[in-house]
């Protein structure tokens, strides 16, 4: 260390130049660093979607989901596996563990899917592995409506013009399109004619396929040329398909049009959308894993700007930001940026106030951006974004950064001043070098201690850990950089800029302050027992009160955007019914003066990530940017609107909250109670009893059990004897039913690059009358046979969804918590269930969601904190020559809690994520101050040979007054704008954190300056050396 400091002082000009270069590089790195609102907080996830047309959810579960689950279970890097089986679709969601190579893991899943081979039934599509998407996934939602274009043309614009352009933007993972009408040429057989003429659906299908044949041709080789032969590509020509030959009867061709109507019709819908309460098309863009939200959004908007003139010319009204998560990023980072600028000005003022010299103030101040920029450059190299959490880490590191610089500069100034008074002053550079090294030892240990304090957050594996990990990483990098700056740039700049005349006598107010400190320390000496009793009582009270302060661990984010989950309370409700309801809800929501836009998406889009039936829908409500409304108030207003609609199950969540909850439980609510078991009916019954038991529990809102049973179904039960008598095979009947009701794609036509499917499907009027199913004529070798003759058609109820978690069946009850502590509410709920619900054999309940996650995170944090404490103890034992000092530092820590708890209580918060980080920060700063004070005592006694008396203790405390006060003041001022912006969007974590740190700083500073000297006098000192050499 000595050689490094000596080198820097000697080559101070070079070091100063390198410092300027480092500053420039750091600024450049900051400019190019990707910005985001939060780190990747959701575990990396992929979906496996497998289409199984016409299969019921139970068939999908047995024949598709289970084999795929078995195939991928146990794959490398797999953390959790959840699945949903719905009619016609199996979706398996895989979450990967942290710190693995995601692309390799995804490849491993793909290989296992490849090995599935023939395990899946015929007719089931190949399993599709989704791309890796980012935490927040949603990038942008764009709405299209038009009075001029019909639903076909509007959808064409989305599918064939906008989607390719937007997908080409780097960072866009996929574009899902809802609504409008997908063009499809439908061949609707007239079953009476077909029967009367004796044609089967197979005849019709074969004729259509033949009419849409697409073949390549060869070429003609001339002597000197090769001439290609071009064959026609089937065009979406209704007349041509209608006129295609089906058969020849009595020398007369019978055409497809003779027995079927051929029309351009909308494809069967599994989802739809409303834009501002009007039928329209919704494009939902998702970002790739690791893509930067802000950059990608802006790039998409650039692409959209280019498309706008063409869209406008066609009469398309574009809503470009129905949901724009980048708004939150911009608002959050904007307010944080503003806070940091204000903080920088305040810090500079404080430095000047204390040091009374612009050069020393500038060196101290310069150390801050230098350390931060170095940390930014390293973070950037590590692939981290600059987000509210990493910036928060820098904010809490400010105190340490300033302290590092102040200690060195202040000591240098003092030693220069002392040196100037000597009869034979030593060389200035040697004094600077020694002064730097003199304080560096304790500073290194103090830095190691604060790093150890933040280690638990760095290693936490929970969702909260994903949030605070980058914060801890930013903090650790900043303090390491600061240490490096203190050992290199600071002495070099001091050598360049400082001299003995820069040391000034104390201000009058500082002298007065020292006098007050002396009085206070003496008061504590005299009344030690009483003061100790009061402090212990306050600390115990703080520890006891803390868990009872109402709060959720994860905050409610003020995004200016709400997601309203709105489902019919029973499956089977139609798309049209949900859209009709959506129009009325949209009208009510738009009547709120602070709502900018609203859109509704119902059901699912093809290859969308949601496995929703037509009975489920989601509204995205964007508030006006200048809306002067409290988020909670807006949320209540939305809840009140939904409360007017019977027959619905609703919840109102913020988008980020929704994503966090969904990643924890697969549900969007705070808490999901999962009821596991084999028998689905038993699970339903148990879930209903649990809902009854939880009704009226304080704090519980949005209590929901979404029953999956009750989907109206017409079950076909084939009659084997009747099949035999009619000469029919099972496949004949099933094929006919599938073709008529689900549609069979018989080919494609092409208009330029646009492909239009040709589908054989019963006409809507026949398809939508349930009684006509029994009259469906099946072509048998002996002639047409009505379906009712070979099958019983039984009206029944089936399940819409069958969910698995870890391969086991479950149903879930969900609720959100409002106005009460999450943990207390969950405890209450658990008690009620235990008391009122008897679990059937084989059925058990698991609480998942934010409370369980918070509990797990806190347990994990406690464990890591234990390890950190051991590490801190070891560092302290190495640091101090007097063993008692180690215990003094550790004993001093809990007292710093007092101010933090009071501050948390004052803002009406609780033990939230921000508060936890704040407490950790307070512990770190408090420990650092204690270490430096006690190390200073050791220095005075061991190096300067001062006697261990009350006067020496007071002297040491007074010499540490300025650095401690400066550190506290600078940290406080750095965090003050964050604390003031407590209710600003994006500061939901940093706000409480800043308030907690401010409260803790106040109490820990007073403790360090007033109480710790008294403690040291009583329990410390060289006379209590136990193992010193």
């Amino acid at each position: 260390m000595r050689w490094l400091v000596g080198l820097c002082v000697r080559y101070r000009g070079a070091v100063a130049t390198l410092t300027v270069i480092a500053l420039a590089l750091g600024i450049w790195a900051t400019q190019s660093a990707p910005l985001d609102v939060f780190p990747e907080f959701v575990p990396s996830t992929v979906d496996i979607q497998t289409e199984a047309p016409g299969f019921t959810s139970q068939q999908v579960e047995q024949l598709v989901t289970k084999p795929i689950e078995n195939a991928v279970n146990g794959a490398t890097g797999l953390s959790t596996i959840r699945s949903e089986s719905i009619p016609g679709l199996s979706v398996i969601t895989i979450q990967f563990a942290d710190n693995i190579n995601l692309y390799n893991a995804r490849q491993g899943i793909a290989e296992r899917l490849g090995e599935l081979g023939g395990l899946l039934p015929l007719g089931v599509g190949p399993p599709q592995l989704s791309p890796l998407t980012s935490s927040t996934m949603d990038l942008l939602k764009i709405g299209l409506v038009s009075d001029k274009l019909d639903p076909f043309a509007l959808r064409d614009q989305a599918d064939w013009v906008m989607k390719p352009a937007l997908l080409a933007v780097p960072g866009v993972a996929h574009v899902i399109v809802f609504g409008g009408a997908v063009r499809q040429i439908q061949i609707a057989p007239d079953l009476k004619r077909m029967t009367a003429y004796g044609f089967s659906l197979t005849d019709l299908s074969d004729a259509a396929r033949a009419a849409l044949a697409l073949r390549g041709a060869g070429f003609v080789d001339l002597a000197h040329q090769r001439v290609l032969i071009q064959t026609p590509v089937p065009a979406p020509d209704i007349a041509a398909i209608s006129g295609a030959v089906l058969a020849v009867r009595g020398n007369v061709p019978v055409t497809i049009g003779d027995v079927a109507s051929v029309t351009m019709a909308p494809a069967l819908r599994s989802g739809d959308s409303l834009i501002m309460g009007r039928p329209g098309v919704l494009l939902s863009l998702a970002s790739q894993y690791g893509a930067n939200t802000l950059q990608t959004t802006r790039a998409v908007e650039g692409a959209l700007t280019q498309l706008m003139p063409a869209l406008k010319a066609q009469g398309v009204v574009v809503y470009p930001a129905l949901h724009r998560p980048a708004n939150f990023v911009e608002r959050a980072l904007g307010s944080l940026e503003q806070s940091l600028v204000i903080a920088a000005v305040l810090i500079l003022a404080v430095l000047y106030l204390f040091l009374r010299d612009w050069r020393s103030a500038m060196i101290t101040f310069l150390a801050i951006p230098l350390s931060l920029l170095a940390a930014v450059a390293v973070l950037d190299r590590m692939g981290q974004t600059l987000n509210t959490m990493t910036l928060g880490g820098f904010a809490v590191a400010l105190g340490v950064l300033v302290d590092d610089a102040i200690i060195g500069i202040e000591n240098t100034l003092r030693r220069l001043s002392e040196n100037a008074g000597l009869p034979n002053p030593r060389p200035r550079l040697a004094v600077i070098s020694d002064a730097t090294l003199e304080v560096r030892g304790p500073v290194v240990y103090a830095t190691l201690v604060v790093i150890a304090v933040f280690l638990p957050e760095l290693f936490s594996t929970s969702v909260e850990g994903h949030f605070v990990g980058p914060l801890a990483m930013a903090f650790i990098l900043a303090v390491i950089a600061s240490l490096a700056v203190a050992l290199t740039a600071a002495p070099a700049l001091s050598a360049l800029m400082l001299s003995a005349r820069d040391a000034h006598a104390d201000y009058r107010w500082l002298r007065a302050l020292k006098a007050r400190q002396r009085d206070a320390v003496e008061f504590v000496y005299r009344n030690f027992r009483a003061v100790a009793a009061v402090l212990i009582a306050l600390t115990v009270a703080a520890i006891v009160v803390l868990p009872f302060l109402a709060s959720s661990f994860m905050p409610d984010f003020r995004e200016g955007h709400f997601v309203m989950q709105v489902s019919s309370s029973t499956p089977g409700t139609s798309l049209d019914e949900m859209l009709a309801m959506g129009k009325r809800v949209s009208r009510d929501v738009l009547a709120l003066p602070y709502v900018a836009t609203v859109e509704q998406q119902v059901g699912r889009a093809e290859l969308g990530e949601d496995t929703w039936g037509p009975h489920r829908s989601e509204f995205h409500v964007e508030l006006k940017a200048d809306a002067d409304i409290d988020q909670a108030e807006a949320e209540d207003a939305l809840r009140q609107i939904l409360a007017r609609y019977p027959g619905l199950q609703t919840e109102v969540v913020t988008f980020l909250g929704d994503r966090i909850s969904e990643s924890l439980t697969g549900e969007t609510a705070d808490i999901a109670i999962k009821v596991f078991g084999d028998q689905l009916d038993t699970l339903d019954a148990t879930a209903r009893r649990i809902v009854a038991a939880l009704g009226g529990t304080p704090g519980i809102v949005d209590l929901q059990f979404k029953p999956q049973s009750g989907t109206p179904t017409l079950a076909l039960q084939l009659i084997p004897a009747a099949l035999t008598a009619s000469g029919l095979k099972v496949q004949d009947v099933l094929d006919a039913v599938q073709t008529d009701y689900a549609g069979a794609t018989v080919g494609q036509t092409y208009a330029g690059v646009r492909a239009v499917n040709v589908v054989l499907l019963l006409p809507e009027a026949a398809r939508n009358r349930p009684e006509l199913l029994s009259a469906l004529m099946i072509a048998s070798p002996f002639g047409p046979v009505p379906l009712s003759q070979v099958a019983h058609i039984v009206p029944t109820d089936t399940r819409y969804t069958i969910e698995h978690d870890g391969g086991q069946r479950f149903v879930s009850i969900t609720f959100n918590v409002k106005g009460r502590s999450l943990q207390a509410t969950v405890d209450d709920a658990q008690a009620r269930i235990a008391k009122q619900v008897t679990m059937p054999a084989g059925v058990y309940v698991q609480f998942t969601g934010a409370a369980a996650e918070a509990q797990a995170a806190q347990t994990e944090m406690l464990l890591y904190t234990g390890f950190a404490l051991v590490l801190i103890g070891m560092i302290l034992f190495i640091c101090f020559q007097w063993r008692s000092n180690t215990w003094l530092v550790l004993a001093n820590l809990p007292f710093s809690l007092i101010g933090s708890v009071v501050a948390i209580a004052l803002i009406g918060g609780g033990l939230s994520l921000g508060a936890m980080v704040g407490l950790v920060t307070v512990f770190g700063v408090s420990a650092r101050n204690a270490i430096l004070l006690l190390a200073h005592y050791e220095h005075l006694v061991e190096e300067e040979r001062a006697p261990w008396t009350a006067a020496t203790i007071l002297r040491g405390a007074q010499e540490r007054l300025v650095p401690i006060l400066m550190t506290a003041a600078v940290t406080a001022l750095g965090l003050l704008p964050l604390a003031i912006g407590l209710h600003q969007p994006g500061q939901e974590i940093e706000g409480p954190m800043a308030v907690t740190v401010l409260g803790g700083l106040l109490s820990s500073t007073i403790l360090n300056l007033v109480v710790l000297p008294a403690l040291a006098e009583r329990f410390g000192g060289p006379n209590r050396v136990s193992a010193a050499p």
Partner: protein, 316 residues
């Protein structure tokens, strides 16, 4: 002791009160169930509920089959074959009789051989006639009206002129039993509601290649063409009186079909209906819905959801 008795008496009273309270609660729940769903005016408006009156209607159950107007050449050929055979048989029978007369007595004018030849010819022609009859029966059934010589000429003349058509109709197996129905209505395929009643109906010979029961019918006054495909309907039973509920009102759930009635403003009652009697725009029902009753045609899906699972968050 007295205090203990008082306590025991008090407990008994409490228990009996509980016993009474439970059935009363059950009764109330039943009453609620029978009273249907009561919503506030706001909720009714939010659901977008619309109603339409059930219209009185009559319905006749029927079974349907498919058929074809038989080509005239087949009938003509059969008839020609039969007529030719009959003429030949009559002629040869007369010749034989005549020969027999001429050969009788001492002044026999023809030889025994001529008589035998004439008789042989007559027998052969009779056999040919019988064959032609069997062929005609095999093609058109044993009960074809033209088998009656009295009406044969007239029927054939009408058939030949096209004023009468012969239609062969096949009904699915088991759709009709016993005697062939006499009130058969024939409609042109896909031509709306125009139909004609058959004047004569009889069983067609079974065709092993066609499952079901085939029937021939004579049809007067239609403009159907030979070879044209038709549908046929046989009314079963007497006409029923009831109402038509709109198809939009239908709710399928709990393994049954039902509709919501609105007995009074903002009150809705789910009623099971039978959808086995479909009509063009709805279902003919005979019970549960009275003519003029208001049937929910819009918003029924969410009304049903509310009834089935009413404990939704929105209302908590």
């Amino acid at each position: 002791m007295r205090r203990a008795r008082l306590i025991a008496f008090g407990m008994l009273l409490a228990v009996s009160a509980c016993d009474k309270a439970a059935p009363e609660a059950d009764k109330k729940e039943d009453a609620d169930a029978s009273a249907g769903i009561s919503l506030s005016a706001d909720q009714t408006k939010s659901l977008g509920i619309q109603t339409a009156p059930a219209m009185a209607a009559q319905y006749t159950q029927g079974v349907s089959g498919y058929g074809v107007v038989t080509a005239l050449d087949a009938i003509a050929q059969t008839d020609a074959d039969f007529t030719t055979a009959a003429a030949a048989a009559a002629q040869s029978q007369a010749a034989a009789t005549r020969a027999q007369g001429l050969a009788t007595g001492d002044d026999a004018a023809v030889s025994r051989e001529v008589v035998e030849t004439a008789q042989s010819k007559a027998a052969a022609d009779q056999a040919a006639l019988a064959l032609a009859r069997r062929k005609a029966d095999a093609a058109f059934g044993m009960n074809a009206p033209w088998r009656d010589p009295a009406s044969r000429q007239a029927i054939m003349a009408r058939l030949a002129s096209g004023r009468t058509l012969l239609v062969r109709v096949t009904f699915p197996l088991g759709a009709i039993a016993g005697q062939p129905p006499q009130n058969l209505r024939i409609s042109r395929l896909g031509a709306g509601t125009q139909s004609w009643t058959a004047t004569r109906v009889w069983d067609a010979p079974a065709d092993p290649a066609v499952p079901g029961r085939s029937i021939f019918a004579l049809l007067d006054g239609s403009d159907l063409a030979q070879g044209e495909r038709v549908t046929a309907t046989i009314p079963v039973g007497a006409a029923l009186s009831g109402v038509v509920v709109p198809a939009d009102a239908l709710i399928l759930g709990e393994s049954e079909a039902s509709v919501y009635l609105q007995p009074k403003p903002n009150t809705f009652l789910r009623t099971k209906i039978d959808i086995s009697r479909p009509m063009n725009n709805g279902y003919f029902v005979t019970g549960g819905v009275a003519p003029g009753q208001q049937v929910v045609t819009s918003g029924a899906g969410l009304l049903y959801a509310h009834e089935i699972n009413p404990s939704t968050a929105a209302e908590d």
